[in-house]
Symmetry: C2
Subunit: 316 residues, 2 copies
């Protein structure tokens, strides 16, 4: 039941010798999702031990090259690897046209379908839902249509309290009903409310990816209570004007978004190539939001399970 994020790219538009453009792998219950796909992402996946064939879907925040140029080589290589299952790419328009260009010139015989699911970047909408997960779009403020992504784990299945099974001598049928969330009627006629018999093993976890963007109180608000927020911090706090003009954020903006959301932890990245070392940016963010870490390629951020009670205690 893992929930972790592996940083595959940490640079802004101009890569450096040591920093690749934006990309992350999100692992939720051993289902892998790629978030943005900067150049070189297929090699980064291999370097950090993630089999590219395991990708279940791809989320592209916006159509600037540093967030998408690595997708097309990856699509080609997945074909060489023999992928057969469809791959859905969640991206703003006109991604479909780009994809058509790529397929026409490079992959007219790709052995699996690539499906495009359009992301409407002005809306907070449910993009993907399965048994364990919901992924929502989060409108961002950039120079071109751009959306963040909010990964929300669903409530885990109820666990049954073994002490209560023994106490009431519950049958298999009664246990099954309790696990479904139902109250249980005893032979005595007494009805036990479900919450007496069951408990949630842990609180659902969540991750927000917010890049590229100016500070947006609205976006932060949509990520209320998130366990881990990634927020771009292209520039130092002193470059507020430049950041605003370019549709980007400073280290202080990122911290402000985490504060506003009531996030538990913050990771910053998308560093301008002018910062050889991201230490300054992290220190600045920590002044406002101490639980800040740096996106460093290969670093994995794991969101540990906590019970609902623990989570409430932490948030108090």
């Amino acid at each position: 039941m893992s929930f972790s994020i592996t940083i595959l790219g940490s640079s802004s538009a101009k890569p450096t010798a040591n920093r690749h453009p934006s990309a992350q792998a999100v692992n939720i219950h051993e289902q892998y999702y790629l978030v943005d796909a900067g150049e070189g992402v297929q090699q980064q996946l291999i370097r950090y031990g993630i089999n590219p064939l395991k990708l279940r879907a791809v989320f592209i925040s916006h159509l600037h090259g540093d967030h998408v140029f690595g997708l097309f080589p990856l699509l080609s290589t997945l074909g060489l690897y023999g992928r057969r299952t469809a791959l859905t790419v969640y991206a703003p328009a006109p991604f479909g046209e780009l994809l058509d260009c790529h397929l026409r010139y490079f992959d007219s015989d790709l052995p699996y379908p690539v499906l495009w699911h359009e992301v409407h970047t002005t809306q907070h909408e449910l993009l993907l839902e399965n048994r364990t997960l919901e992924v929502w779009s989060v409108p961002l403020r950039h120079r071109v249509p751009c959306a963040g992504f909010l990964f929300r784990e669903k409530e885990p299945p109820l666990n049954i309290d073994k002490f209560q099974i023994a106490k009431y001598g519950l049958s298999i049928a009664q246990i099954t009903a309790a696990k479904r969330g139902e109250p249980v009627a005893l032979d005595t006629g007494e009805v036990l409310p479900n919450e007496v018999l069951t408990y949630r093993p842990y609180a659902p976890r969540s991750y927000a990816y917010l890049s590229d963007t100016n500070y947006s109180a609205k976006a932060a608000g949509l990520c209320s209570g998130v366990d881990l927020m990634y927020h771009e911090a292209t520039y130092a706090a002193s470059e507020q004007r430049l950041a605003a003009d370019r549709g980007h954020s400073t280290s202080a903006d990122a911290a402000k978004a985490a504060l506003r959301a009531g996030a538990r932890r913050l990771v910053i990245g998308h560093y301008s190539s002018r910062y050889k070392d991201e230490g300054q940016l992290v220190e600045e963010a920590r002044q406002l939001f101490p639980a800040t870490d740096a996106a460093v390629e290969g670093r994995r951020f794991t969101i540990e399970k906590t019970t609902a009670a623990q989570k409430q205690a932490i948030e108090r």
Copy 2:
């Protein structure tokens, strides 16, 4: 008056954690030319100390993704760097259409023009000529239209023999005429043939890039006497059948091409991802052609100057 080749990529279509797809930087008299542009080439240039702004032209052998996916991100980044001078890309059709797609969706406001010069892959034709260099196409045998590139340094300017200046008391005008290659008439009426007064400081150097291809005696023949040949060796000698079917070469094919051309040195590359270590491929090639080296990323192959007499002695 440098003449060197820096290996930027050494893998075939599936990159590995340590090998990038095909790309090389050719430095001729501090003019840089990019030959193929696999994914990640912009970062590889930076890693190995080559300023991407210095590129004078790009040569693309064929339109398989592993030879061209790195070009588009590079074009974008050159725009961010503020390049203003035109960049010509020599590539087979329909490269122009690909370029149009890229420019339309990613770089509609690129601050420099990208020009396409079509390479006719069935012809051995002069693609580029300047004061010091000629670049010729070399038809190759691959699954799609594909050309190699032959870089031929022009004859260097004549040097004047200082001993003869003193001996005959030559004037500035007479020296200038001799440097232009003319015979010189002395005041005595005697006419000195130019070769008495001048010499070529070194023999013109040459480099052939042959990838991707089956073994081609014709291509090798067009590179006759080349100083350095790069030839793909995707597979080991035992995989002759597979190589033939896929439009690729084995280590032995590469050696055969170097022998056939009478090359002085051979570099092999474009290794299949099945070979974790290229040692086997190099050893096999060396059995036929001892002066074989491995393409390893970051390795620079310098073609040293030799006088025409030295070159003849070596070739004897």
